[in-house]
């Protein structure tokens, strides 16, 4: 088994597992805290669409633990992952346009 670390603590994994799969296999289903309610969150959709599983990996924030393959020596950190990554999503959500207007009654 190989290992990566989460917040400094080792997590064993089988090559081929994602970061989330390794954490769940190690008995952890939560690794993030929400901004408003400070609620614990971890993996939910498991396929990269819900963004519940966000972590910082080797300094890169906003990574989905359920899609990134675990690699030996990876340094995963939790906590405030939302602001560390400058991503285009922020821009996109701010300007999200609507094309398909349902014709209202």
């Amino acid at each position: 088994m190989s290992e990566f670390s989460i917040d400094g603590r080792p997590v064993p994994f089988t090559e081929g597992q994602t970061v989330a799969a390794a954490l769940v296999a190690a008995g952890r289903v939560a690794w993030r805290t929400t901004r408003v309610g400070h609620r614990p969150r971890g993996v939910f959709c498991g396929i990269g669409v819900c963004f519940d599983c966000l972590v910082t990996i080797d300094g890169a924030g906003g990574q989905r633990a359920c899609v990134v393959p675990a690699r030996p020596g990876m340094n995963v950190t939790t906590g405030e992952t939302m602001t560390t990554a400058a991503t285009a999503t922020t821009a996109a959500t701010a300007t999200t346009a609507t094309t398909e207007e349902g014709d209202d009654d």
Partner: protein, 485 residues
Amino acid sequence: MTEQSDLIVVGAGPAGLAATAAALAGGLRVALVDSGTVVGGQYWRHPPEHARAAIPTEDLHHGLREYRALADALPAARAAGRLDLRTAHHVWSAVREDDGFAVHAADRREAPAETAVVLRAPRLLVATGAYDRQLPFPGWDLPGVLTIGGLQALLKGGGVTAGSRVALGGTGPFLLPVAAGLAARGAEVVAVCEAANPLAWLRHPGPLLRNPGKWGEGAGYAVALARHRVRVRPRTAIVRAEGDERVTAVRIASLAADGSPRPGTERRIEVDAVGIGWGFAPQLDLLVALGCDLTASDDGNAVVAVDDGQRTTVPGLYAAGEVCGVGGAPLAVAEGRLAAESVLADAGTAPVPGDPAARAKRLAAVRATVARQRAFARAMALAHPLPEAWSEWLTDETVVCRCEEVTAGAVRAACADGGAPDHRQVKQLTRAGMGWCQGRMCGPTVHCLAGRGRPYTPAERLVATPVTLGALADLDRRNSPARTE
């Protein structure tokens, strides 16, 4: 290195794989792009090649012979320079250009590092599949509550069970393989709560009778579940998850005909994981942004409108699989084949190899399969509707938008005082749908809470997956029309 492709296929699930194999067989050069590290999509999700001995998942699969036939066609085509296979490439945008399409992807083979890539081709096939549709309920945001697809993905992709005592709930035949898979890996499946009435199938028996393949699979699950003493409870739902730092129990209740919990029937069951799925919602981001017409499907989703050859309303753009309506892997495969045949016919570049009469016969058979499987999908949608009164199990405190932590109370208030008629207006007022997932999880729900009866059409998302500004800047600097390697 990439030569110019004739066709870009986004999505290497059953639909995209079948389309790619058929297009290659017809002599086209194809670029196949998928965000996953291996091909197979959701249905044929596998661990990476090098990990298959350490993480055995073969016994969890169906139709592996077909998967192997499709996947095995890829290496030779790659070696011949006719297939540009791009796994671990997340497509974040696809746009029309004068002579075709430009597909923008983030190459994440070295994740978390990423590089921007642009692929171009005269024709594009989008086969991005679907994700689990969710209805919120009190406690659904507790750790340990997952989508059933998420449980399945952990199992098929990583060999991991998310709990040792698991309750499943929602509606649809997909509950069964997930229950069987978990049980096969030693988890105790303490409840499978199916909201629908199994007798609903009897109202439309024709499609079931005409798809005997489905019985075999269904009977297989029935045997597996009986062996593990797993009981499916019809007309039952998980109405609450309890726990503090993670889920420790669920409350289940019998449902009345309208789907509301029947008073006095609630039971508490201790669990350490929960899986929920209310059918699937198609992944339409790329297609909506490309301007395709959408249409309503029987399960309440908007899906992309295609003709009888899987052509969308945008010239040169094709769609196959669950983006055209949720119907299972065999339908996705058949639609993929049909789409490839249309691409071959429309491209009309070189004569397609093989005997034309045999080809026409094959095509007729594929069309017949599509028609039969679509009829089955329709019957499935009618037999497994969302319970009409599902919102009765919400409390005002129930989180509806997981990203922005907007509650059902806030959404209801916006609809009442602001008169917000749909999910877009609710979003303006409450921020529901404004977070990282861009409304993928809560969009349909907020839509139901705001304006019932009309089909849900997703808002346009400018990027289908977030991409770092660094990778974009890098692309801009290089300013090369197509990155080749």
